[in-house]
């Protein structure tokens, strides 16, 4: 293992809202090597986006980083000034947002918005920036790039706009691309196209990708590693195969059970995860998933499960695996 491109250690982040402190991230640790694809999976409010945004220094207003280290490409993000951060954003690290409908400024042409980021981070002149913008549009598979550059966002379809967003993100050939639910707001047929495009571009440009999604299908096909988040914690982390074929956390198991599959036997039913996510203003003392967990034990309600390291980089935070180990020890003794 070489030096990590992204190295987030024990990150803690809270939003100080008028109603109280919301502990959005607790002890989040993530590593990512160059050219790797990491999927972060979890339901809304589990902290997936907050993790990614904090890496770019884009934490929204009442949010505050309370602890941990965030390292990206040798920079210590947590210690960087806004000015230093700006040089990295859009340059070494880029992001694609969920809703392409609202993420482009409606009053400027597409060309203007792409050229803007090129001229900001490179010393290309206007004509060169325009040529590069055209090249980028071709790269993301938009036909008639000349014409598109002069159009306004509202004149384009959702899929097209997401391609534009990708073009903007890739304009300076970043080392890391964060994709924040890039396909959630799109039609199913377009979703596949966009994901394919992203993988293709990853092969071509060799960047690393953090893919934030709540769609397990997306991560299964694209990612090298997966982090499963629940209530601001990473509950399970590992290679894609580890997660899919050897899930240890009850939440991961639940997620996989609730996913439609093609290879199931006829009568196997989809099992939804019952209940609602925890109220982050009043988090429970124990495992946050315990109230919804079928296998919840007494200890789950009172005590946070510790991290249990498994093979490779695979780890989980669940009392079930602790129970197995405990019983195994007792058996030995």
């Amino acid at each position: 293992m070489g030096k990590y491109l992204v190295d987030i250690k024990n990150e803690r982040l809270s939003f100080f809202t008028p109603a109280g402190e919301v502990k959005a991230l607790n002890d989040v640790t993530i590593h990512l090597e160059e050219g790797e694809v990491l999927g972060i999976v979890g339901e809304s409010g589990s902290g997936k986006s907050v993790t990614a945004y904090s890496l770019m220094g884009l934490t929204a207003h009442p949010g505050k980083l309370l602890g941990g280290t965030l390292e990206f490409n040798g920079h210590h993000v947590e210690n960087m000034t806004e000015k230093e951060m700006r040089k990295i954003r859009g340059n070494e690290i880029s992001i694609i947002f969920q809703d392409p409908m609202t993420s482009l400024n409606p009053v400027y042409t597409v060309g203007n918005q792409i050229e803007e980021v090129i001229r900001l981070h490179t010393d290309k002149n206007k004509a060169e920036a325009k040529a590069r913008a055209k090249e980028l549009l071709e790269l993301v598979g938009i036909n008639e790039p000349e014409k598109r550059l002069k159009q306004y966002p509202h004149e384009l379809s959702g899929g097209m706009r997401q391609r534009i967003m990708i073009a903007i993100a890739l304009a300076c050939e970043p080392k890391l691309l964060i994709a924040d639910e890039p396909t959630t707001a799109l039609d199913v047929t377009i979703q596949a196209q966009i994901l394919e495009l992203m993988m293709e571009l990853k092969e071509k440009l060799g960047m690393a990708i953090i893919m934030i999604t709540h769609d397990l299908g997306v991560v299964a096909s694209m990612c090298d590693k997966i982090a499963v988040m629940y209530a601001g914690r990473i509950v399970e982390y590992g290679e894609t195969d580890d997660i899919f074929y050897n899930p240890q956390h009850m939440y991961t198991k639940g997620l996989i059970r609730s996913m439609p599959r093609l290879d199931t036997t006829e009568h196997e039913k989809l099992v939804p995860i019952e209940g609602t996510p925890v109220d982050m203003l009043n988090p429970p003392a124990g495992c946050p998933f315990a109230p919804r967990c079928d296998a919840a034990m007494k200890i789950c309600l009172n005590q946070m499960p510790p991290q249990t390291d498994l093979e490779g980089c695979h780890y989980t935070k669940c009392w079930m695996i602790q129970k197995e180990q405990f019983e195994a020890q007792k058996g030995e003794a």
Partner: protein, 305 residues
């Protein structure tokens, strides 16, 4: 685009016609003719005068004659100010009102827009609360109150500024302050809320994620979007300054069109009432059309139908 403009202009023409017609018939409901107040005139002389100006003819005939002439730009002679045409009077008085109104609109924009932005950027801080309080008070205080308060303190007590007329720059200060107070406050509020709205938009996050500085993302990305509602307010603001100048002109004794209009009504000067109403209405309506078209140009999202 062309179709939209044509449609707007047609609607404007209908509106102007409607205003002219309503004014014409309303005015003729007003009791007392233009020559009644002049006691020295004998009934015969009154009749002769009325015949001269065509006031003895049936209402409908007068209406059609008037509209036909007005269409050719002839608004007739003033009934009270002998020997002067209505266009003459408007041509002499309007520039005064226009200068006052124009300066006030400019002041409102120059002061209101930046302060609204500042309040939005400093949201929740003291600066924001201060600007918001001033703006809220500003839209609550009627123009005549502002006028009289200014007049009393700066004109009468401190004697800083002259209280009558509109000749030097010093004359402008109090009337402009009075006239631009409400629109300034309104624009501040409008700008603040629209700026807050824009700052929360996804494309502002995109701008930040691109690595743009706060300054650039504010001026390039936020301002152009946030200013759109202000543009829509320019139309109503013009109407406000035109009518608001009635009060301001009265208090500061400024020889403008507003005062002329009030005098014309009091004197039953039919042709002058018609002339000024049509003129002011046309002005406001045309400005509204211009602003509407301008708005469509600035905001590419709105498709012109």
């Amino acid at each position: 685009m062309l179709k939209y403009i044509v449609k707007r202009i047609l609607l404007a023409i209908v509106t102007i016609w409607a205003v002219a017609t309503i004014t014409f018939f309303l005015m003729n409901l007003v009791p007392g003719g233009p020559f009644l107040s002049e006691k020295a005139i004998s009934p015969q002389a009154t009749a002769a005068l009325e015949a001269k100006y065509g006031l003895d003819k049936p209402l409908m005939q007068r209406y059609t004659t008037y509209m036909w002439d007005a269409l050719h730009g002839d608004f007739g002679d003033s009934l009270k100010q002998r020997g002067r045409t209505v266009m003459d009077i408007i041509g002499r008085q309007f520039p005064v009102s226009a200068r006052l109104g124009g300066v006030s609109v400019l002041v409102a924009l120059i002061v209101g827009v930046p302060l609204g932005c500042v309040a939005a950027l400093k949201r929740g801080k003291f600066t924001d609360s201060f600007i918001s309080v001033v703006a809220t008070c500003g839209i609550a205080v009627p123009s005549f109150v502002i006028c009289t308060v200014l007049m009393y303190f700066f004109g009468v007590k401190l004697r800083w500024f002259p209280t009558m007329g509109l000749t030097t720059w010093k004359h402008f200060i109090m009337p402009v302050m009075a006239l631009s107070f409400y629109p300034t406050a309104y624009i501040m509020r409008l700008m603040r809320s629209s700026m807050l709205d824009v700052l929360g938009q996804d494309y502002m996050r995109t701008a930040k994620a691109k690595g743009l500085s706060g300054f650039v993302s504010l001026f390039k990305h936020a301002l152009r979007n946030a200013i759109l509602p202000v543009i829509t307010y320019v139309g109503p603001m013009l109407a406000y300054t035109v009518t608001g100048s009635f009060v301001v002109e009265k208090i500061f004794t400024i020889p403008g069109l507003g005062g002329e209009f009030i005098r014309a009504i009091n004197g039953r000067d039919y042709t002058l009432i018609m002339g000024t109403t049509i003129f002011l209405a046309t002005l406001i309506i045309v400005m509204n059309v211009v602003v509407d078209i301008l708005y469509k140009i600035v905001d590419p999202r709105i498709k012109l139908k």
